[in-house]
Amino acid sequence: MNIALAVGTVFTSAPATSWKRKIVSTSEESTPRMYLISMPALVAGCASCIVVISQLRLPRHPGNNRKGYQVSNPRLLTGTHLMNGQVACAEGAIAAGVNLFVGYPITPATEISERLSRRLPQVGAIYLQGADELDSLAIVIGSVWGGYKAMTATSGNGICLMQENIGYAAMTETPCVIVDMMRAGPGTGVATKTAQGDVFQVRYGSNADYSIIALAPESPQEMFDLTIEAFRLSEIYRVPTFVLGDEILAHTRETVIIPPQVHIQERYTTEQCPGPGYKTWAVPEGSRIPPMPAFGEGYCLAVSSFARTEDGSPTQNYSTYKPLIERLWNKVEEDQDALTQVETGWIDDIEILVIAFGPVARSVKSAVKQARAQGIRAGYCRLITLWPFPDRYLKRLGANLNKVLVAEMNMGKVVREVERCLSASTEVELLSKPGIELHRPSEILEAIKRMA
């Protein structure tokens, strides 16, 4: 059992130290590698420092284009900046090579649009204001099939409107990035206040079965990093990929360090072009993901969200439908070991594990540190990858755990997933705040003490 992937370093919740975090990938078959993000070297003025946003072991299929790594990108505003999460996200998108952004104004995601409307033309890319959220994501998906990398950004209520197009993107395996800056709801809720209520909405919001990837940053720095990562993963897996921020990240200004180089994932396409007769949905041997040429290249692409055969013809046959849906589900879910990103602290000798994601994790880290000072053997696990949910990782981590506390700004969503992963004998408690107000470290410390 590889619980050895725990990272015992002492973390503080200060944003600049997010560069010190260790991201671990989890895997059943071998000892996981650990990568230390070497930001201090950059801070120290080392110009040749290459920042590895994350180096997960991704599945070996032709889409995992190693040649695309470490591309020097003139779009980067390399240096140290004071930015809020939305601006950092916008810069992340530019760094990742976005060609088109389409978004409809909505608090707290409007500044992403504002920033990009100014910045994108400067780098030769395009900004367009959508007529609504449906229009925005539809234009994004259309442009991706035209060969672009594209993104949209919205808040929870906008995601409600996008669900139809999210399902379309999932079914047509269209890589795109959707930023969800969560706010208090339901309905209009509180536009300018935070919440973490969209956890299930982004995963299960559209009809029937599909899979997506969702990443949850905790700081403006991570809004930058994970936006780039979202582009990379969306290209590799050909799924809509979410950056699940919230109002706190949207409006918090912190240090954001933009490195001299980032990894860019180019689209996985094919050079064999037979013209008419090309099978748009044929999956190469040993892979789960078909290559994706663009319109106008002579492939005679058959793009449809119909249940389909390999050549794109609509089908009602169970024998064709079942493998299609299983593939759409499994290409992400089965690869969760490669996709799992967590940050952990003090988990070597724990009695109580605190699980959180997003900005709540920053309060958690502070509380856990205080608990340790008081002699309570607490540790934390911050989920960076929310979807696919890190089932296997938590199962391993929780094998010998008795007490788990889940802190989240909703009425209990991640806690349900956690309960599902852990054995019935593990005591799982929810520390819920429905939104507007972030957990205070003292509240979390109190809950830890109560459980200890």
Binding site: G142, W145, G146
Partner: protein, 286 residues
């Protein structure tokens, strides 16, 4: 893979001018449309327009939505995008932005153009995106069994207006013209030559080209309104649709029950996609 079914051996069919653009192999091939339906005629007209213009079919993307008309794009042998109900124009806008050299043609039914896709229609016209939208108006939602649509004439009956349609109906050409398209025309399937001419003009014209083509639905609209078979419906269309010039000369009371066809707008206005790319070029150079 292209499967040439038996009927391709029929000499008459093999010589059909649209057959070389037809994608074979789909279940239900040759197509899903009912006998006597007008939608196939517009497939034919669009292919003729593309051929007469000498376009490389590999540079033409057909975009469709849901419903009887929505399925049309899936029979286009080259690149097609079969999208969501009412949203082909938004998807088409994205394709055009990503690759302005492509010709993007959206075929949509009257329901998706005017009801669920109404906002996409007026926004695409307002932005004046250089794509073509062909609205095939058969006054009904055919795929779901003949419910009334926003273009169903007041008083007409349908599966969901058994006592007669009490809503007012849409004049889509007026709407699109007001929203700012550079080319707006209306034709019917009984006037193939003008219809092909309008499609060609909508394709070549820089800016949003909108062509409404009235087509017969003998299965639902005609049956529920007792208009007879497809030939009877064509006769009904001949009587109802009159040339715009002729319509304009009629007195107001004579105009009721008549629908004008012809070209309504043919003007110049700034276009979205070239504007966006120009902005990106200019700013980058600075």
């Amino acid at each position: 893979m292209t499967i040439a079914p038996d009927f391709i051996n029929d000499k008459k069919i093999a010589q059909h001018p649209a057959i070389k653009y037809f994608r074979f192999g789909a279940p239900g091939t040759p197509h899903i449309w009912c006998e006597g339906c007008g939608i196939g005629q517009i497939f034919h007209y669009t292919c003729i327009a593309i051929e007469e213009l000498g376009l490389d079919p590999n540079q033409v993307v057909w975009v469709g939505g849901s419903g009887c008309t929505g399925r049309m794009c899936t029979y286009w042998k080259y690149d097609y995008m079969h999208t969501l109900h009412g949203r082909p124009m938004a998807y088409g806008t994205g394709i055009k932005i990503a690759n302005p050299s492509l010709t993007v043609i959206c075929h949509m039914g009257d329901g998706e153009t005017s009801a669920i896709g109404g906002n996409h229609l007026i926004q695409t016209a307002r932005r004046n995106v250089d794509i073509v939208a062909i609205c095939i108006n058969n006054y009904t939602y055919g795929m779901t069994g003949g419910q009334h649509s926003p273009t169903s004439p007041t008083g007409s009956t349908s599966a969901t207006s058994p006592y007669g349609q009490i809503e007012n109906s849409f004049d889509l050409c007026k709407l699109v013209a007001a929203a700012g398209a550079t080319y707006v025309a209306r034709a019917t399937v009984v006037n193939p030559k003008p219809a092909i001419q309008y499609i060609k003009k909508a394709i070549t014209k820089k800016g949003f080209g909108f062509v409404e083509i009235a087509a017969q639905c003998p299965t639902f609209f005609s049956r529920s309104n007792k208009l007879g078979d497809n030939i009877d419906m064509l006769e009904w269309m001949k009587k109802t649709y009159i040339r715009k010039e002729q319509f304009d000369r009629l007195a107001e009371d004579e105009q009721s029950g008549k629908i004008p066809w012809g070209e309504f707008v043919d003007c110049e206005r700034s276009e979205l996609v070239s504007g966006l790319h120009q902005l990106a070029r200019l700013r980058k150079e600075e």
